[in-house]
């Protein structure tokens, strides 16, 4: 049995002549927070709906918990979904909406479960308020509560922080991290990269229906961190000079010739001067600084669009 609890192979979805997803491959392991990044219309919601069993693929395969999925398979039950807007009856209260879902699950002791969830998402004081009178953020939090009602193994959240104020964003972030600590696998889509970077452990960049890149958090941070890349003929000789002469302790030796320096107080010309004075041959020295957003725009080739 593999670690992947969700595996998608060559998944394609067409709507009439338009291809919303094209040959998507990805694996999501148990316990991950999988961040799906993409612009509006990139295909994020379509991919999540396919994984959640709301839509059927035009071609390709979805494996959940090591089982190939076909229509109405019971493994879809183990997914909690909050896709696009929360599916709520506006004329009923938060409690009543949760109660309807709990009844459909055949849940015993509904009242206790519902009150616990309302407390978890911070809506216990608004449980009798009609959803019609809820703010966007409250609706999103109630949507998360609904998605959690069946105690799912996987929680799918599509743009969960849309419309939330900073406090609401922080609360949802904390909730996601807490749920993940309890062992829940979470798939979360967003176009707010900075926010996604605070929770996700793995990322996929989706662009025009295709997966452009899948990276772990460490890989992505490496690509986006601020550092000075020093290429010398002998890294072993250069390190003592960095430590003793420049007092740089925050660095990483990548190989025999490459050193990454993370000390933001030092300038590249200072390092270059000292190394050359000590007889070290410096092949190149470059400052690497790229925000998540810049990186995403580079990968999707959308920089021009934003500058427009």
């Amino acid at each position: 049995m593999s670690d992947a609890i969700i595996e998608v192979n060559q998944l394609t979805k067409k709507f009439k002549s338009k291809e919303a997803l094209r040959k998507v491959d990805l694996k999501i392991n148990k316990g991950e927070i999988f961040g799906l990044i993409g612009q509006n219309g990139a295909g994020k919601s379509t991919l999540l709906k396919l994984i959640g069993g709301l839509m059927f693929p035009s071609s390709g395969e979805i494996h959940l918990f090591d089982h190939a999925m076909n229509a109405n398979h019971p493994y879809f039950e183990r997914m909690g979904l909050l896709i696009e807007n929360a599916g709520l009856f506006p004329q009923y209260s938060a409690y009543k909406n949760l109660d309807f879902v709990a009844i459909s699950y055949g849940m015993k002791d509904r009242k206790k479960h519902i009150n616990e969830l309302l407390k978890l998402v911070g809506l216990e004081s608004s449980n009798r308020t009609k959803v019609n009178n809820f703010s966007m953020g409250m609706k999103q939090r109630l949507g998360i509560a609904v998605a959690l009602l069946g105690s799912p193994d996987v929680l799918i959240l599509d743009e969960p922080i849309n419309g939330l104020d900073p406090q609401g964003i922080s609360e949802v972030r904390k909730l996601i991290l807490d749920l993940n600590k309890s062992g829940m696998t979470i798939i979360i889509s967003s176009h707010i990269l900075e926010e996604l970077s605070k929770v996700a452990t793995k990322y996929a960049i989706l662009h025009h229906g295709e997966i452009v890149e899948i990276s772990s958090k460490e890989e992505l941070m490496l690509k986006c961190e601020e550092r000075i890349e020093v290429e010398v003929d002998n890294a072993g000789l250069a390190v003592p000079i960095l430590e003793n002469d420049l007092h740089i302790m925050n660095y990483k030796v990548m190989d025999d010739q490459m050193i990454f320096v993370y000390d933001s107080r030092k300038e590249s010309h200072q390092i270059n001067t000292v190394l050359v004075e000590r007889g070290i041959s410096v092949h190149s020295i470059t400052k690497h600084k790229q925000s998540l957003e810049q990186y995403f725009l580079n990968r999707t080739g959308s920089e021009g669009d934003i500058n427009d």
Binding site: L54, F76, N85, L88, F89, V146
Partner: protein, 253 residues
């Protein structure tokens, strides 16, 4: 299946729209009887409205197009399905095993319940109206009356399933209600009847659902009773299967 039906039933019984529709219908039904009393005119060979028993009265009311009972059933069927569809509430349970099939069956049962409520309200309103304005609450032959109510219940339930199926496919509240009204006006029945009269011997239009609902029937005649039951069951089964098949293949956006 039972759980989804329980959920729909819970929503059905806590739905103000259902009670409002039934109350409005009841008020208009009683008002209709008052108007019937005020403008009652004897027609040669026909029983006066005030002299009719409940069975005759129901047959007369239901034979007048557009049938208000069907109109209310149309509005409720479209509303009940579309309110869930538009809110996206189905996303909360549709990933459960066989939920697509069960949700359609559950809606069908709920609409059956609403149809039953409509007929009960119709009978009660008729009795109240007839007692007040005609001083006549006779029911007539009880066996005939029971067969009439069961027959009309099945036919109207079948009609609600047709509307549900069309609404699922059309996915628009207004368009579904407009099509429902066209059906209630029996446009298709009239066109089919006209074509039949041109062609000759065909009797196809008598098997159309709305035509069967509005035709005055003799439930003492076994053939007539079998005809009514067959039309109702065929439409119920056909459109239930169509609705389930559609739901099983539907991409829920």
């Amino acid at each position: 299946m039972i759980n989804l039906f329980k959920m729909d039933l819970h929503r059905f019984l806590t739905n103000k729209m259902m009670y409002i529709l039934l109350m409005i219908y009841s008020a208009f039904q009683i008002f209709g009887i008052f108007m019937g009393k005020k403008y009652e005119q004897p027609v040669e060979g026909e029983t006066l409205m005030s002299a009719m028993n409940e069975s005759q009265f129901i047959q007369t009311i239901l034979s007048q197009t557009p049938s208000w009972v069907m109109m209310y059933i149309t509005v409720f069927s479209v509303y009940f399905y579309m309110s869930e569809y538009n809110s996206g509430f189905y996303k909360n349970y549709i990933s459960m095993n066989n939920a697509r099939i069960h949700s359609v069956l559950s809606k069908i049962l709920t609409l059956g319940l609403f149809t039953l409520f409509m007929l009960i309200v119709m009978i009660i309103s008729d009795l109240i109206g007839r007692a007040i304005f005609f001083h006549n609450t006779t029911i007539g032959d009880l066996g005939f009356f029971v067969k009439l109510i069961i027959g009309q219940f099945l036919l109207h339930w079948a009609f609600s399933i047709v509307i549900l199926c069309l609404t699922m496919m059309i996915k628009s509240m207004i368009a579904s209600i407009v099509i429902g009204i066209v059906l209630v006006l029996n446009v298709f029945g009239m066109v089919a009847g006209a074509l039949e009269s041109l062609i000759g011997n065909s009797n196809f239009s008598s098997y159309l659902l709305v035509n069967t609902i509005i035709r005055i029937k003799d439930f003492n005649d076994m053939n007539e009773t079998i005809h009514v039951a067959s039309v109702a069951i065929i439409f119920m089964v056909l459109f239930s299967l169509l609705a389930i098949r559609y739901k099983l293949k539907e991409d829920l956006r």
